[in-house]
């Protein structure tokens, strides 16, 4: 039984590595297609052929791109993310702080949104057809239908500009106390919670409702079980697979999909870093960011699979 889970984890890890390689190659080819290179971008309007050639030489950009890519890949094996073309800092150092920021934002959003979404989804399923259920359903449809930049911009205008309750920028470095932390994270977290919760609520509700129609839930009813017991003890454990999957998909958005929130709140995360990296054609940085997004996604999906398997005795 245990070795089964272990085997599965190992298999999933192997798949993760393969997928990662596919993504890295795909990103590499996409990046190679971009017009201009770091040297010409940095020189901008003054990018005369001689100047570009000189800078390219100075930046060691003359090697074929594929060679540089393979070199970077090789360095990765040793845990070295390479050196940024644009500013010659180690990529690890550039990403480091921002990665922590992204993880913090993702973590806090997760802590808020997952319990909230699961509670709403499960209670809506329990009270299926009630006013409460309809309200939750309509609200989640409403939220899912509004572009996130609207939510974010409105939040800034209301809470930062007019009410002045919260700062318009999320400068993570200024958090000295818990109150600061709450104030700084409030708006981005709320915006992201809006964005990712709706889908989780819908999926949770659907999954629980589906299991509620199984014979074993009817059996529980015929044993005299209360509604909450039927849902929590019988339906929920068996709906866990799809729910965890939906949660993982939603959370994967928090790693790379938060570019709009990062832009509006000027939050220094890795999505914006990758945008900057694309702007300067900074291959090692682009690759490293892409790798983080891909890894985040794969880890979440794998974790969801493993949770689903562990929660289901038939698959163990």
């Amino acid at each position: 039984m245990k070795s089964g889970v272990l085997n599965l984890v190992l298999k999933r890890l192997a798949i993760t590595v393969v997928t990662l390689l596919i993504v890295l190659f795909a990103v590499f080819f996409a990046t190679s297609m971009l017009p201009g290179d770091t040297a010409s971008i940095l020189l901008g309007q003054a990018a005369t052929p001689e100047a570009v050639a000189g800078l390219r030489e100075a930046m060691h950009l003359n090697d074929p791109a594929i060679l540089r890519f393979l070199r970077w890949l090789f360095g990765l094996l040793h845990g070295d993310l390479g050196t940024s073309y644009a500013n010659e800092m180690p990529v690890a150092q550039l990403i480091g702080g921002r990665f922590v920021n992204t993880m913090e934002l993702a973590g806090i959003t997760t802590l808020l949104s997952v319990p909230l979404a699961l509670t709403l989804g499960i209670t809506a399923a329990m009270l299926r057809g009630s006013i409460y259920d309809r309200t939750v359903t309509i609200l989640s449809i409403g939220i899912i239908s509004v572009p996130e930049f609207m939510v974010a911009t409105l939040a800034v205008l209301v809470f930062a500009v007019y009410l002045r309750w919260l700062p318009a920028l999320s400068s993570v470095n200024e958090a000295h106390s818990l109150t600061d932390l709450v104030r700084i994270y409030a708006m981005p977290v709320i915006t992201l919670t809006f964005v990712i919760s709706a889908q989780m609520i819908r999926m949770t509700r659907a999954a629980v409702i589906e299991t509620l129609s199984t014979p074993y839930v009817e059996m529980a009813l015929l044993k005299g079980a209360s509604r909450s017991r039927m849902v929590l003890k019988h339906a929920l454990p068996n709906a866990l697979g799809p729910i965890v999957n939906a949660v993982a998909l939603s959370l994967s958005y928090l790693v790379g999909g938060v570019i709009i929130v990062e832009t509006i709140f000027n939050y220094p995360g890795i999505a914006k870093l990758m945008v900057d990296a694309v702007a300067t054609r900074d291959l090692p940085l682009i690759q490293s960011c892409a790798m983080i997004f891909c890894l985040g996604y794969l880890l979440l999906i794998t974790a969801a699979d493993i949770i689903a398997i562990i929660s289901n005795p038939r698959l163990r």
């Binding site: 201009g36 309007q45 702080g97 930062a160 700062p167 220094p268 900057d276 702007a279």
Partner: protein, 536 residues
């Protein structure tokens, strides 16, 4: 437009614009400084109480937070590589130059005590004594030689390598004397060295992430593309300065985010405000706008050596099709002045006021297009965010064209790689030119037959001869006449349509005091941190 910016007149405008946006490096800043002296008049206008407050007594202390508009992982503290406004602001707070330009454009000594030369070819620079770097090391001649010489090293990738190339010999005569030899005489060397890239760094520095300079602030935090924090240099050699305890500079690339951050009190200063946001700023108390108009312009370039620009009637038609008033009013939201298709702005003493802007006349335009046989054809026009307001301008011109059956296909291309791939290359495209102090520079850079940035491929032997003649003449009146004629020629013959000169607006909290104009650019030539203070 708004009350706060109506109390100044166009005569106050100067040709040096404060926003060397996207990076003055691209524009070979040196050339802008060549004229020096009187040619560089007061460049910007500070409005409202900020202007009056100059006279008030400075107060020490406080943290000043400002936001710039560019955000890049390529942000650097190496002055030689500085390319964006954010780099200049940071370098100015950490390093000093040998000289700098004051608000009147006069060259003042900073780390140098004196510049002397008999033949303008060999220069002796005496250094100020008792200046130390942040790490405690004394400033010596070796540091200066190192700082200047490194621009010649190709592997550094200096943005001013070309300008620095005229310096052929460096010698540390003694601990505080440096001798610089030029390839050809140039009396403007002191002004050239006021350029931001010629900041003085410590001898042998290879890692610039520490920001070890002699400047007013000491580096505390630097996150490329995010922010930097610098704190007061207690041992700063300029007594009493700086006033601020610390200065934080943040990159907020999103326009509305920058304004919102100012309005919510998160920052004290937001550089380069989008005209669309001004209505909002107007409605709020406690904020001021600072507007600068100069020779910066976005122009529509029609290459004369390619179709359809090779048909003179097409170019003529386009000049009538451009509704300059509407561009100033709509695209620039009033923050600009109507241009007359030539690069010398009204702020320049050589400006020829007799060259009138062409009136918007769709009928004439239609006549010319018909004559060129191009009416009804779809003509691609390349615009990009890279050239300020070019998209809005293109849309306005496009709409005017649509009314008379001239189909202009506006192709918006990414800002990334625009200067490399489209500028100077596409048959019809937009460019953006930063101010240059003299007509000579503008013409040799942009309109001479051999000009490197000849946007419309304008070639005229007569024009080239006139240019050489004016450069060699010492007779001011004659020069003005020749430059006047040349302006008329460009306006009529070249394929560059310059509909307006663009103003730049920064927004700031009323608590910020001491802001003055500077010919080197906005934010007091990017060096505001050293001079500003916060009202208690």
């Amino acid at each position: 437009m708004t009350d706060k910016i109506t109390n100044w007149t166009s005569t106050d405008d100067a040709m040096v614009e404060n926003a060397i946006r996207r990076g003055a490096s691209r524009r070979e800043l040196l050339k802008m400084l060549l004229a020096g002296g009187a040619a560089v008049a007061a460049g910007s206008m500070v409005l409202g109480r900020a202007t009056n407050a100059v006279a008030a007594t400075p107060v020490s202390g406080g943290t000043f937070k400002a936001a710039g508009w560019s955000s890049s992982t390529a942000d650097t503290l190496d002055p030689a590589k500085a390319s964006l406004s954010t780099d200049y602001v940071r370098c100015c707070s950490l390093y000093n130059r040998l000289t700098f330009l004051d608000k009147d454009g006069v060259t003042q000594m900073e780390l140098a005590e004196s510049f002397d030369s008999k033949d303008a070819k060999t220069w002796t620079v005496k250094l100020r004594k008792g200046v130390t770097f942040h790490d405690g090391k004394d400033l010596t001649a070796d540091d200066v030689v190192f700082s200047l010489k490194r621009h010649l090293d190709k592997s550094i990738g200096s943005k001013v390598a070309k300008i620095a190339a005229q310096m052929t010999g460096f010698k540390a005569v003694d601990k505080s004397t440096v001798e610089i030899t030029l390839a050809d005489p140039n009396a403007d060397l002191p002004t050239i060295l006021a350029l931001h890239h010629f900041m003085i760094v410590a001898d042998g520095t290879t890692d610039f992430s520490k920001g070890n300079g002699t400047g007013a602030f000491v580096l505390q935090t630097f996150e490329p593309g995010v922010r930097s924090v610098v704190t007061k240099n207690k041992n700063y050699w300029k007594s009493g300065k700086p006033y601020l305890d610390s200065f934080e500079f943040i990159a907020i690339s999103d326009d509305s985010a920058r304004v919102n951050a100012l309005l919510s009190g998160d920052i004290n200063f937001a550089a380069s405000i989008n005209p669309r946001s001004m209505k909002l700023l107007d409605s709020q108390q406690g904020f001021e706008l600072s507007k600068t108009t100069s020779g910066n312009y976005t122009d529509l370039n029609i290459r004369l050596d390619m179709d359809p620009g090779s048909k003179a009637d097409f170019v003529a038609g386009m000049k009538y099709l451009v509704n300059r008033e509407q561009i100033v009013k709509s695209a620039l939201r009033g923050l600009g002045e109507i241009g007359n298709d030539q690069p010398v702005s009204p702020a320049n003493i050589f400006h020829n006021a007799d060259v009138k802007p062409k009136a918007f006349d769709p009928d004439k335009a239609k006549f010319h297009f018909q004559k060129a046989g191009l009416l009804g054809q779809s003509i691609p026009v390349v615009a990009s965010d890279a050239a300020t307001s070019s998209i809005d301008m293109a849309v306005i011109i496009q709409a005017a064209g649509a009314d008379i059956g001239m189909k202009l296909d506006v192709q918006r291309v990414p800002a990334d790689g625009y200067w490399d791939n489209y500028w100077l290359k596409a048959p019809i495209h937009f460019g953006n030119i930063n101010p240059r102090p003299t007509p000579d520079i503008l013409f040799s850079l942009l309109y001479a037959s051999s000009a490197p940035w000849n946007e419309s491929q304008y070639k005229s032997e007569k024009f080239d001869k006139m240019l050489v003649e004016a450069r060699g003449s010492l007779d001011q009146a004659k020069r003005k006449e020749i430059y006047g004629q040349m302006q008329a020629m460009v306006s009529e013959e070249a394929g560059t349509i310059i509909p307006a000169y663009i103003s730049n607006v920064d927004a700031l909290s009323s608590k910020v005091k001491g802001l003055e104009a500077n010919p080197l650019g906005g934010m007091m030539g990017y060096a505001m941190a050293e001079y500003l203070w916060l009202e208690a």
